[in-house]
């Protein structure tokens, strides 16, 4: 780590001011991704703006939607009675992230802002038709994720909260990378009446994506059997040391089957 400035403002407004005063400042949320990057000297921001004092950690049932603050820790989401009642699949997802230490620190906003292709949350955001509320606008999930580690966020824009649309039914099933336990493939399936959304993480070269064929198969018949005829093409899927594109294609179908079973 190179030495750097550290500030901890009390509001989003102050945080925005603080980041503007820096030339290459970074927001610091749980630090689970950012701090290791700094330790390995892969980044050298001239300042860190810790947003944990900005009161962004509320969790509220707002009727149609469930609104979670960007600074809500994974552990809070996993254990929240409100989340468990409104969207149990989301609590399950949060409970399966990393290990206890990571869950105690990592945040929803940090995960979504980072958009790691193997992260779990982006699939929920996409499948649950979420709206990402930032310091200056609201973005639909379909417009938010723009590629591996890329989002529509502009520089100096803070995610404040995310509203998830409550589904009729939803589930998240993850096949963990044996080493890192991030998603090697994670599938979030959400049913809204007749409409079904299937978001896949861990597998796409462009990051999280929706799988239209499975969505339409499940819309007409919400069962594992209806997936049998769907062909998962391996083009565009990640191929690495742990899993070839073909193997990931297999896991996508298998995890989806398990999600709807």
């Amino acid at each position: 780590m190179y030495s750097t400035k550290y500030v901890k403002p009390n509001s989003t407004t102050e945080a925005l001011e603080a980041i503007k005063s820096l030339s290459e400042g970074k927001f610091l949320a749980g630090g689970m991704t950012l701090i290791p990057t700094l330790k390995q000297r892969l980044a050298s921001p001239d300042g860190l703006v810790d947003i944990s004092g900005c009161k962004l950690d509320s969790i509220a049932d707002e009727g149609e939607t469930l609104k979670i603050g960007a600074m809500a820790r994974h552990i809070s989401v996993a254990e929240s009675a409100v989340v468990k009642m409104a969207i149990p699949a989301l609590a399950k997802l949060a409970d399966g992230i990393g290990d206890r230490q990571v869950r105690n620190r990592g945040t929803l906003g940090g995960s979504v802002a980072n958009n790691d292709p193997s992260a779990c949350y982006p699939s929920a955001v996409l499948a649950l038709k979420a709206t990402v509320h930032t310091s200056n606008r609201s973005l639909a999930a379909d417009d938010f994720f723009t590629g591996m580690f890329e989002t529509a966020l502009e520089e100096d824009e803070i995610i404040e909260s995310i509203s998830f649309l409550k589904p009729t039914k939803a589930n998240y099933v993850k096949f963990p990378n044996p080493a890192s336990r991030y998603a090697m493939v994670g599938v979030f399936v959400a049913q809204f009446g007749d409409e079904v959304r299937v978001a896949v993480t861990g597998a796409g070269e462009g990051g999280v994506f929706r799988h239209q064929e499975m969505e339409s198969a499940l819309s007409s018949n919400f069962s594992a059997d209806s997936l049998s005829s769907v062909n998962i093409v391996s083009d565009g899927l990640i191929s690495d040391l742990h899993a070839s594109a073909e193997y990931r294609a297999n896991l996508i179908k298998e995890m989806t089957k398990r999600a709807v079973a």
């Binding site: 190179y2 000297r41 096949f175 044996p178 890192s180 040391l241």
Partner: protein, 794 residues
């Protein structure tokens, strides 16, 4: 053993006395130690695998904030400091010697692996040292990297001294007799297996703190070592050419080694050198990335096996051709691991009349490969037990029965193998039977059918292993090319009040010696264990000893303690005879008391101790005062633990995930001093073996970059990867040492990988799968299932 009187003696599961500090985070490791005025060292390492160094420009680094000194290989060479040495070499088939290229402390003219140290930067803080290193400019002329060790002979030459990148080409056994046996065999089973490369991953990364005292020209080195005395010997005698008395080496608490902390590494030597150069203590601690890149790795073999059977399915001969990867430089025991610690074990538990093996040790542009828990014996066991299972399958016999008919019979001991070793004692059927019973082998097919109903493939796999440990007879070691002795030492000091201080040459870095060794002394002297303290790890305090590795601490180190205690008892009898006015021959020692036989005249051990130090009434004419004895114990043979492990797995065909659902381990470790500690060693060993078989794989890409250089990609076993282990024992006490003990530290890691892979193959055998390489990752298993189905469809 009488449970009532022997509360904490040999055979009881006393809780580990050292755990209080470890479990409360109070251990004191090298990195916890700081000296006034110390500077921090950072090593600039090569990021290319193979290159000539054209130029190193250190100017900018020298003037960086906080930097005190920047040194390169030229500075080391100017002071004529030697590099690490190879502790054991073997002769080649053609009569030539092992090729031993120099291993400079800092690169001289060439780098040979990613992580090879080029320069050291010393600064006030570790961050400043690292920042300084970033300013060093290295101009490389890249050479083509040699990564694939099987074809390393065709690659660019890595060392001038090592033609064809072959360090040695060694053989053992009778090639002609084996060829004859194989040509006369009714059936030859052929198998090619790979022993995957592993990263040792001790919890504590390596660290060193060196200090020079210019008043008496002496050094003190705190370091993460499994054998401080060996470290001192190598540093003083071979690298710095200074008297041993001018170097004190302390290995304080050490957080695991698994072999990787046996050797002297360049970093600790550079710290020693630099501490004099800059006149300040020098500290270095590896981060996890450096640990991945520079700790010696383990395994990395390919073995071609041919096993010949007669018409009764009895083994007639075995030939194994092995190529192994030793990496960029020869590490201390890198040569002996794949040769004498591997080839000599090829007879396993079986009566094999003819064996021949050839091993080629190759140089590559990867970090050095050396001993890792089991060291050579896991590789031997893996290839043999995979082959035994494959052979049983080919001839249509139950694998347990096939092993049974080939076991060395119990009345054949001592048994001379065809590969140099003589097993003193063993009895193999009982542990096979017991393991089968523990796992309910006979009802396995019912469980397989039940699993099939759930869509799962269930399999069972056996591994009957033997190992040679308790390193061991110096004469044998010397005859086989070892450059060190392999005895062990102990010094037992009785304090005036009858408490005991034991000074051992062994070193504990997780094994629980403070407990086990104290139990031996307490048992033999009939005193409470609390009265025994065990001191280790400091060359100024302990007698010269060889340290801990090769499951040698109890068999060799414990035996030395036992011998020293015997001497204490003998001397005590003389003192007692005097005090009791009896003849020495009439004195019996029992339950902590010296008794004149047939009378009620007695002296407690404490009274004898006091008399020895307060010799008011003492036979000074015939006996020196004091009560302290040394023993050096050099065994006449290795000890030979053996056992049978049986694994049961379920494979999910949809994902390829292998779940280990049951495990039975029945081991013969001879007598057990502390069964709880033994069981812990078995658990840990199996966990590491399961790691090797299912999860772990050190992977270099074709450019020599280590792709698995962090826990994001290198998969360690976790608790939820493991089943609950069923552990049992049979006992044939070793005839080699008085305690009747064998080693248990490595057995789990030796036994388990083939049991597990055999189980996976068995699970998939209904699909026609006959082979599976380690690690059996979900992707690999899934692919094997897919391939078998496409074959079936054709």
């Amino acid at each position: 053993m009488n449970e009532v009187t022997k509360i904490d003696g040999i055979g009881s599961s006393v809780r580990r006395t050292e755990d209080k500090k470890f479990l409360t985070g109070k251990g004191k490791y090298t990195d916890d130690i700081n000296r006034p005025g110390q500077v921090q060292a950072y090593f600039l390492r090569s990021d290319v695998a193979h290159a000539k160094i054209k130029k190193i420009d250190i100017k900018n680094a020298q003037s960086a904030p906080g930097v005190i000194g920047v040194f390169t290989g030229d500075d080391i060479a100017a002071d004529k400091v030697g590099g690490p040495i190879c502790g054991w070499v073997v002769p080649c088939r053609d009569g030539s010697a092992t090729k031993e290229p120099p291993h400079p402390l800092l690169a001289q003219g060439k780098v040979r692996f990613v992580g090879d140290a080029i320069a050291v930067v010393l600064a006030e803080t570790a961050e400043q040292a690292k920042s300084g290193a970033e300013l060093i400019d290295v101009d490389y002329e890249e050479l083509s990297p040699v990564v694939d060790f099987e074809n390393a002979g065709d690659g660019a030459q890595i060392h001038d001294e090592v033609p064809n990148n072959c360090y040695f080409d060694w053989e053992l056994g009778d090639e002609k007799a084996t060829a004859d046996a194989l040509s006369g065999a009714k059936k030859i089973v052929k198998l090619r297996v790979r022993n995957n490369r592993l990263v040792p991953n001790a919890m504590e990364p390596r660290s060193a703190l060196a200090e020079f005292d210019n008043l008496d020209d002496s050094y003190t080195l705190h370091t993460t070592s499994q054998n401080p005395h060996l470290t001192r010997l190598v540093l003083a005698a071979f690298m710095f050419a200074i008297p041993e008395s001018k170097l004190r080496v302390i290995a304080p608490d050490v957080g695991g080694g698994f072999g990787s902390k046996i050797y002297v590494y360049i970093e600790e030597a550079v710290c020693v050198w630099a501490s004099k150069k800059v006149g300040r203590p020098v500290k270095w601690t590896a981060d996890r990335t450096q640990a991945f890149l520079t700790d010696c790795h383990g395994r990395d073999h390919v073995n071609d096996v041919q096993l010949g059977l007669d018409e009764n399915n009895k083994i007639v001969g075995l030939r194994v051709d092995t190529v192994c990867n030793l990496g960029a430089y020869l590490s201390a025991f890198s040569v002996v691991v794949p040769t004498y610690l591997h080839g000599t074990l090829l007879s396993g538990q079986y009566d094999i009349p003819a064996i021949y093996t050839n091993v080629k040790g190759m140089a590559t542009n990867t970090v050095n490969v050396d001993a890792y828990r089991g060291a050579g014996r896991p590789e031997a066991t893996y290839l043999l037990e995979r082959t035994m299972e494959a052979a049983a399958r080919e001839v249509g016999m139950d694998p347990a029965e096939f092993r049974r008919i080939n076991f060395i019979p119990k009345d054949a001991f001592p048994y001379q193998t065809q590969v140099a070793l003589q097993y003193d004692i063993g009895d193999y059927e009982p542990h096979l039977d017991k393991a089968m019973e523990m796992i309910d082998y006979s009802n396995f097919e019912t469980r397989r059918a039940e699993a099939a109903k759930r869509g799962m493939y269930r399999g069972i796999g056996i591994s009957s292993y033997i190992e040679a440990c308790g390193l061991a007879p110096s004469a044998v070691v010397g005859a086989l090319g070892g450059r060190v002795g392999q005895w062990e030492s102990a010094s037992v000091r009785v304090n005036p009040t009858g408490t005991i201080s034991v000074f051992t040459g062994s070193h504990s870095h997780g094994q629980g010696h403070a407990t086990t060794f104290a139990q031996i002394v307490a048992d033999k002297l009939g005193i409470p264990m609390e009265n025994v303290e065990v001191v280790h790890g400091d060359t100024d305090k302990t007698p010269f000893g060889m340290g801990s590795y090769g499951s040698r601490s109890l068999a060799s180190g414990g035996s030395a303690i036992s011998k020293a205690v015997d001497k204490i008892i003998n001397k005590s009898k003389k003192i007692a005879a005097h005090l009791l006015e009896a003849s020495e021959d009439d004195i019996d020692f029992k339950d902590g008391k010296f008794v004149v036989g047939g009378t009620d005249k007695e002296k407690a051990f404490g009274e004898i101790a006091l008399a020895a130090y307060v010799p008011h009434n003492y036979p000074l004419e015939t006996l020196e005062p004091g009560l302290e004895e040394n023993a050096f114990y050099d065994p006449t043979n290795f000890v030979y633990p053996s056992g049978t492990h049986i694994a049961e797995v379920e494979v999910d065909p949809a994902t390829g995930v292998v779940q280990v659902v049951d495990w039975a381990a029945c081991d013969d470790f001879g007598n057990l001093v502390n069964p709880m500690i033994v069981e812990g060693q078995v658990h840990g060993g199996i966990a590491q073996g399961i790691g090797q078989a299912l999860l772990e794989d050190a992977h270099y890409d074709e450019n020599g970059q280590l792709l698995t250089a962090s826990y994001m990609d290198y998969c360690m076993p976790r608790a939820d990867d493991l089943p609950s282990f069923k552990v049992g024992y049979t006992t044939t006490p070793s005839t080699v040492n008085d305690l009747g003990v064998k080693g248990c530290g490595e057995a789990g890691a030796i036994a388990s990988p083939p049991a597990l892979i055999n189980a996976v193959i068995d699970a998939l055998s209904p699909l026609g799968v006959t082979d599976m390489s380690m690690p059996a990752t979900p992707q690999k298993v899934w692919k094997a299932i897919q391939d078998s189905q496409s074959v079936a469809a054709e």
